[in-house]
Symmetry: C2
């Protein structure tokens, strides 16, 4: 059975402060927990139905502690609106600077992305388009926020994230010829540009776009043009803009 203290622990993982202190995060649902089992992340606790345990004999070797529990208890612990019969507590990967090869590699850099759904979706897009690392400004929403984890559909286990000052990162890293792209209203039409196969694509805050400190480091200002005849469509969601940018950079 699932003790009250365990349920309390699980609920605490909805708060960044508690996640930071404990160094763990929550993963929910069959598909997501299966992704976790296939990843190299360390699973501290698995709470699941007997059915799930029987269908996944590998958990014996993969998980530190297993609690088989009834649906009702799991629902009490769950942070989801529609809980499934399985959840896992997983160790965070420490925020270590990933090894980069910016002469060949394309990175995303997120400047104050606030919405967890957007961050999760952007990680999923990066995963799809073979972008291995996403650099996040320190004020970007926490990658271990349960809503980010769920929206990433498992991409969180494959795409590396690193939280740091974007300004310092770009200044130090994007030396020499590394192109730094960013979307601006006054940028050049992305469909007409010859885009590099390496460099950094900066994506800005949902409301305010790219901050002035980072904007001055952008070497290539680009723009996704609207095809609306009324010029009434005011903006694209940042995850949608990320998808179109990644698609344009990868297509040949």
């Amino acid at each position: 059975m699932l003790s009250k203290s365990k349920i309390k622990l699980i609920h605490s993982l909805n708060r960044k402060k508690d996640r930071d202190e404990s160094g763990i995060f929550l993963v929910e649902g069959i598909k997501m927990v299966e992704e976790t089992l296939r990843s190299d992340f360390n699973i501290v606790l698995l709470v699941c139905s007997t059915k799930f345990a029987n269908q996944h004999p590998e958990i014996q070797f993969r998980v530190k502690e297993i609690i088989e529990s009834d649906s009702e208890s799991i629902q009490k612990a769950s942070l989801l609106q529609n809980p499934q019969d399985v959840l896992a507590i997983v160790s965070q990967n420490l925020n270590i600077k990933p090894e980069l090869n910016l002469q060949n590699e394309l990175l995303l850099a997120l400047d104050f992305i606030q919405d967890p759904g957007n961050l999760g979706t952007i990680l999923r897009i990066a995963d799809w388009f073979g972008i291995q690392t996403v650099i996040c400004s320190e004020n970007t929403v926490d990658v271990y926020n349960p809503k980010v984890v769920q929206a990433s559909m498992g991409a969180i286990f494959r795409v590396k994230t690193w939280y740091t000052s974007l300004e310092a990162f770009i200044t130090k890293t994007a030396i020499d010829e590394t192109p730094v792209y960013g979307t601006f209203l006054e940028g050049k039409n992305i469909y007409n540009e010859t885009l590099a196969s390496n460099g950094i694509i900066v994506l800005g805050n949902e409301g305010n776009g790219i901050s002035p400190e980072v904007a001055r480091l952008v070497s290539h200002k680009i723009y996704i043009p609207s095809f609306s005849s009324e010029k009434s469509a005011e903006s694209l969601n940042v995850a949608i803009a990320a998808a179109i940018c990644c698609s344009e950079f990868r297509r040949r």
Copy 2:
């Protein structure tokens, strides 16, 4: 002041059955209500702060009933997690078949889109890419669901939607040479195809893709390839796929 019966009415608009019966829907937040004021939709009731009323003198001519109210009452009525000081009750546009010109026009057709956030985002994408009409299967989530309205960021007022049987619609409408596109795992690489400037792009259900009945009407099967080296990225969110398709169809 905002009466209890008005608050009850507002809360009822979270339920499709009640929206269908009353023929009205809820719009919340400053930006969204400003979009409503600029649209040709009929505003039945506006609940707002005195500040908003003073800043928007046009509401006198535009709105049937105005209630100036304090934040606390508006928060009680609101369905949002972070309520703003304004909301509006708006008449639905009846589900009338839009005039189409499929020899020149590009349409989206949604086959059982379930998630309100996805539908709202797809409408916003359609708006950006100048797609004026979105055809929805009868089991697609209701366009007047408050979460769809909010996620559309106002696109709901500009993009026409029509709920009908996709099978019947495509059979009747896509006669002669009208291309019908749909994404399938076995489809052709979208980046290598010459895409038409007219026709129908079918987008399928979040979990199950395009239904068999609609799939057999698709004349051009396409596919957005993954660039992930591990082949681990399993799927794109349907709104992300919609964005990449629209971008590919519109770019020249």
